[in-house]
Symmetry: D2
Subunit: 484 residues, 4 copies
């Protein structure tokens, strides 16, 4: 049942996506050189699931069917499942050096498994039953789902229904007997055009006035009326160049797209929330917490960056310098400190009424807050170790040119046995992660993905038990309970 | 079998300890006003074990006897045990606002449970059997053990046997048929004079030349020839003053002592290592890792400090200022980030050949490294929120004086309903934790306890799998395996 | 005309101050062991002014009389004067290792030289003429002035006139033909009981409703109706102990007091502002900026802390360890970064209409903001280098005791030639600066003196030219001027 | 005499440079779209010198001729000159948003003015006379000089003469009666192909064995035998695209090149050092200190980045959020803290025997050390404020496309009056500075230019007066002078 990487690629070719980039419609999405590396990264999630040494991490047993499934389609049944999710993120981050895009779907499915259950409990609806059927379909077919949450938001000081253009948050424009029609857009959609399905969720807590915006559903990614406009990344067009050195990470990458829903029809059995506005925030919070945990992937990218830094230090003959060794320790320290956060919110997770295991919400936010800081410091340290050549290195063509090639090979030799070309490769990889296409994922996405830093601070503020702490302090210094 | 706090105090009164402070022998150790708060803190570890709401955390089931025992005497049988140890540290740190001194014993016992097993495996000795008998005695009597590791070390650039004075590391001076005679000292012994037992371990890795220093054993704390010289703490003599305000934390505290072994006899059945020098480092590393995990207690003290900061902000009418709220978030964020570290090294622990569960060594070091940083920043933020009055507040006597008291109460009033005296109490608590007696535990001990920061960095350097990371980096940028 | 240190001490003996401490009236202020070290520190400002090698820094030429005067009584006549003020602060901080308390007077005089001039320019009053006469008196008699700004403030969310008790800000309670009567208090007054004069200023910007609080004047420190209640410092009572080791810095220290004005009469010629409420903020801002610059003194204390850290590293035989050397570099780096801030705000000062040179206001705030951060990190690094013994060292009495003394000297020896007693001295000095009496000045006063961190952030926010910066950004990316 | 921007461009067209990029010889250097923005940035140094409002900063009076000259060709005659140099850097950084490349020449000239004088003083040579003639030529013709210091270095653990290939440091291969022949390369040459002259200096301290490497000279940039191979920058090829939005900073940029000297002849009157190996370090240190001061330019780029961050916050309607305001304060605080460093090392400069004013060496290193840290944090904060759209924004072509353009304009509208296109412009500018071509200058060059961080730490270690600091500490705690 679990797809192979090859089957995944083949399945994408069957999709009929409407994708735009650089002002043009993309005719062959799978083979487009800027998109393909991101497809390769998703393919890795299929490939590793078939490797015996990664089986425990990459696969799980479906609680619906009892079959072995790819963990990305699994509903967490224990804290052990949550811890394995953390490990899977690190594994794949290290294997691809970039965002592999499949977490959002997993996190959406798990969040919906709880929210649909809780809506039903209140209203006697049947969202959870629909959802379970949908989940089984996803598991059976081993699908990649895009989890689409972020609306364009327009003027951020106004709620959805007060925006000048009512479509700045995705909304229900018509309710029909057999389904609904929706309009709007979802921004920053990671991996959108590599997905079989798109799962739409609201992006903020809502009040009754916004109830038309309180909608969640799933659709095939090539449903009628959906358009994708690709976002640019730093250094994106290096992927159009010949050669492999200057791309840094020639095989893997990521992408983001604006996904536009232009009066798209959603059949009833694909709808998981419809105007139950008081559950919008509920779903957002659950998805966000799961997705914050998912940033364990950056620990894997950090492994690659640390490995690259150590390698260039060795190539330069500088690896024994005390300050270099100390910087490598600091990089490891920061990277493992991150890992602790994702592990801790997983290991202290708990079972929700729906049966799904949920991460420790406070610690998931604490972890993600560190993700908005440490990768930047890791990048700074990597650039320190790499040396200035990382940004002054001539192009791969210059290395290959009969005129300039020998000159470069002469002047960029370091210690015996190191090929100048390999020195260039490792420098370009560090450039890729700290300034190039992968920096989009390693830095900016670490900052804003799963919520910008202030979103986590608000959650920390809400979740820290301040009354308990005040009580402890007052007790110790002799202030009586009812005293101020 | 588990002692009550009262029984614990009574048991201490029966000890005949030789303790010196301020140039004088202390006649009544238990009631000495500078020592007593530290006894109170240990007593809390007995008291809470009898509270039903803390039973799961504070007690465990002995793997030797199957009886319910205080967790401080338990050998960890699962990662769940390790996680509970972390929670117990936080609980007690929050309940006492200081160091409660009983972790060193627990960590020594667990380390010895492994090292004695491993020595026996190599040499066919019977250390583990002796140890198990000793452990059962400790569990049955619910004893507090001092874990004594740090030697004075003399000239740090020289190994034990090269020191001018051979006693600068504790050593075996004579081997008799029925036991050994040892001489030397152990410095910085937290809780030494509140302990029933002292467990001695070597402090560094050793070579054959140092084998007389490779010794581990346990003795009653009042064994013939042991002397305790108490260390001073910042603000220690405030405990001699009347009143309770200026002490900050009037009931709880900590203490450290230099423990001198002046040709002390150790019977054979109390010896757990004797000249097996190659296991000195083994024992040090195991104790250190467990003890690094134990710094979860500082998260509990952090809870108190955060609670105190929030309280003084409310007393001052400043709690709604955005910068104050943000500083409280940052304090919580740092404190929970610490918590994640201790949890993570516990949750990813594993079973050693001896059957004991051991923490994740790398993550324990990563956690402790953060402990050498974050409490300092938490203190800085607490002092920021507290305002300058924390260090310019007149004495409790001035508050009580008929002349100055009314003046102080007039001018130190803030918003309605806040007693100026309570404002003083909470400020003195923050002073206590950030500058006073508790700062010794919260700051300096966080820095140096369980190894100074550089010790952790060396471990991180050893334990990070750099070859794996280099391999990942090279694979991604296209450097062939055997290439440099 | 410039007093010697001896003459200064003699002059203090003639004062008739009403001082309370520990619930008792202090009969002999000058010789009280807790107060005397702070007197010694002020005396240093007199002593060094007579040393030829410090003449350029410590003295200036009065712009009123042309005579050589102590720089602490000088009105800055050039940016060179401002730079010398910075250097004087560092010099004295290094010479005393603590707060020498005389800056507040200098900063008050300079601020008043401008504010009185500007009030007169608006209202045709004669405050500046009065002030000049007063200044000449201070210069001729080489007086130490306390600059008293901070009111108790009560409920911080309310302005002065809305406080339940109208005295929570110092105010004019009666205007008489020959003067005024004032009531209220000033908190945190550094060096108050070592001063000949007290110069009172308002503490916040005010509106018309608060005009009774908009008052500035100078009085002899022993004027009828003024009472001083001394604040406590961490480890203050160590100064009452015999011996010199445990005090850390046995000769120098600081102090703070609450200064209470109980219907005190101020004659007209000592009044520098009376109800010109719109100049309250003007005076506060000028005093604050000068006083922020004054924190150059902490760079001098930093020099002492760095010197002590290097010394203990050498005593321990650890000074060649790479991590120790790197921490010393970091300490120097942070300390000199601070120095840059004070120098820069001085070197870019300008002449105000009154003729007085004023520091660069933005950079003075930027500097002080760093003062609220870097000394804490310097302290942390010093504690790292010092090792745990700093907080576990037995008392000086134990060193002198015939029983314990030899034991301590045996076990606290390090490398050849280092006296264990000297090791104790240097550790106690580091304890003094990072936890003890001097920590009050080096840490908490660095945080809150001359305004808490948020005060500087508000000023930075006001003074940064954001329109200019937006214009530059828009110009570069091609956004037209009038576009948003 | 001072050239206009137009004259500068015309003068470049007359040069006959041998430049390679992307494996091809560049036929028209001035108009090449990737190179031209860097030419524009240099041109700005000519343009602003003619603007009356910048005259005081941008121009100086030649101490040789008494004529008004561009400050970039001036030898500093006072600390005021040094302070103006700092201000000029900030001005131009703000006007271009990038590296304007002309400091290296100015810093080389000033360093040579001292080193040539000092060599002559020791050896009675005439280097200074030659240099003065050369300087006059540069001033009269208002030339841009590349200061070429960094050699490729090969195996960093070996000195020049021990490298396998002797050319890995530039060296004298032949001494002729009328000049010398040199071979080697200089890496990372900023602005190389926009320069009229190239001034070569050694890159490290040397011993006698390396004397053939101890050489300094100046040549026209198009001298026979010199080849330039251009380095790549992140996002460099966006400059080849149509439109202006996606380039971020469409008009200005920087470049670096490898400059190869293939047996180039240098006539005697252009030689400023020849085998006086003991002055190699002397020259390196002087150039480095001046050049470290020059990083004041990054404060100007910081102004742009802060302005852009404020602008996008306003566009998004988020500028009133407290956390955004606080982040803007922090950005300003860090940026002005940097400014303080450059100002301080200038204001405390001193006159050298040659008459040239030299910056405070310790503070210049302290400043540069902060430059290796703060711009990274400023970038992180800018990315925080910018939001995720910065890295997911579609291309300019998509904005212009009739199909996708209206969709993007609909969904990327924010508050009233903000053009979505302008939002894109400002986001692309932030991308440019934090990830794109300008990040090379703002981040990586801040790290490694004028010496990598460790180089500054070594200098701080050497220049901090530790003996003085130890003496202060010992004096305060009562350790006698001759005691350890």
């Amino acid at each position: 049942m679990m797809m192979t990487a090859e089957a995944y690629e083949a399945s994408l070719r069957k999709l009929n996506l409407k994708v735009y980039m650089f002002g043009q419609k993309v005719s062959n999405v799978v083979d487009h050189p800027i998109i393909r590396p991101s497809m390769n990264a998703v393919a890795k999630t299929y490939e590793l699931a078939h490797r015996p040494e990664h089986e425990a991490i990459m696969t799980a047993t479906s609680h619906l069917t009892g079959k072995k499934i790819n963990r990305f389609t699994h509903i967490h049944q224990s804290t052990d499942d949550l811890v394995k999710k953390t490990r899977m993120g690190r594994l794949l981050g290290g294997a691809t050096g970039c965002c592999f895009q499949r977490c959002v779907g997993m996190d959406s499915l798990n969040a919906l498994s709880m929210t649909t259950f809780d809506i039903d409990a209140k209203y006697g609806t049947e969202y959870n039953k629909r959802f379970i059927r949908y989940l089984e379909y996803v598991q059976e077919n081993d699908l990649t789902c895009d989890g689409a949450m972020t609306d364009p938001k327009g003027d951020r000081s106004l709620p959805p229904h007060k925006q000048k253009d009512p479509d700045l948050y995705l909304r229900v424009v018509e309710v029909k007997p057999d389904g609904i029609v929706v309009r709007g857009a979802k921004a920053h959609q990671t991996g959108a055009v590599n997905s079989h399905e798109v799962i739409v969720m609201p992006t903020i807590s809502m009040r009754e006035e916004d109830k038309d915006y309180a909608v969640s559903f799933a659709l095939p990614s090539d449903a009628e009326g959906i358009t994708y406009i690709m976002g640019r990344q730093s250094c994106d067009t290096r992927k159009l160049e010949m050669g492999t050195i200057d791309r840094g990470n020639p095989f893997f990458g990521g992408h983001e797209a604006l996904v536009v829903f232009d009066d798209v029809f959603v059949p009833n059995d694909r709808i998981f929330m419809l105007k139950e506005f008081e559950f919008a925030g509920h779903l957002v919070e659950r998805f966000a917490s799961y997705h914050r945990q998912s940033y364990a992937c950056k620990v894997g990218v950090g492994d690659v960056l640390i490995g690259a830094s150590q390698t260039i230090a060795e190539y330069n003959g500088a690896e024994k310098a005390h300050h270099i060794k100390d910087k490598i320790v600091e990089m490891n320290h920061l990277n493992e400190s991150l890992f602790c956060g994702s592990l801790a919110c997983a290991a202290t997770g708990h079972k929700e009424p729906s049966g799904t295991y949920y991460v420790n919400n406070l610690l998931a936010n604490v972890f993600k807050q560190n993700v908005t800081r440490f990768p930047y410091e890791l990048s700074r340290l990597a650039q320190d170790i790499a040396g200035g050549l990382m940004v002054t290195l001539p192009s791969e063509q210059d290395f290959n040119d009969p005129e300039t090639g020998p000159v470069l090979k002469k002047y960029f030799q370091t210690r015996d046995g190191v090929l100048p070309e390999n020195r260039a490769r490792i420098l370009r990889l560090i450039e890729n992660i700290t300034l190039g296409t992968a920096a989009v994922g390693y830095l900016t996405e670490s900052m804003h993905g799963a919520g910008s830093p202030q979103a986590q601070r608000i959650m920390i503020s809400r979740l820290a038990n301040m009354e308990e702490k005040k009580k402890k302090a007052k007790a110790l210094c002799g202030i009586k309970d009812n005293d101020q």
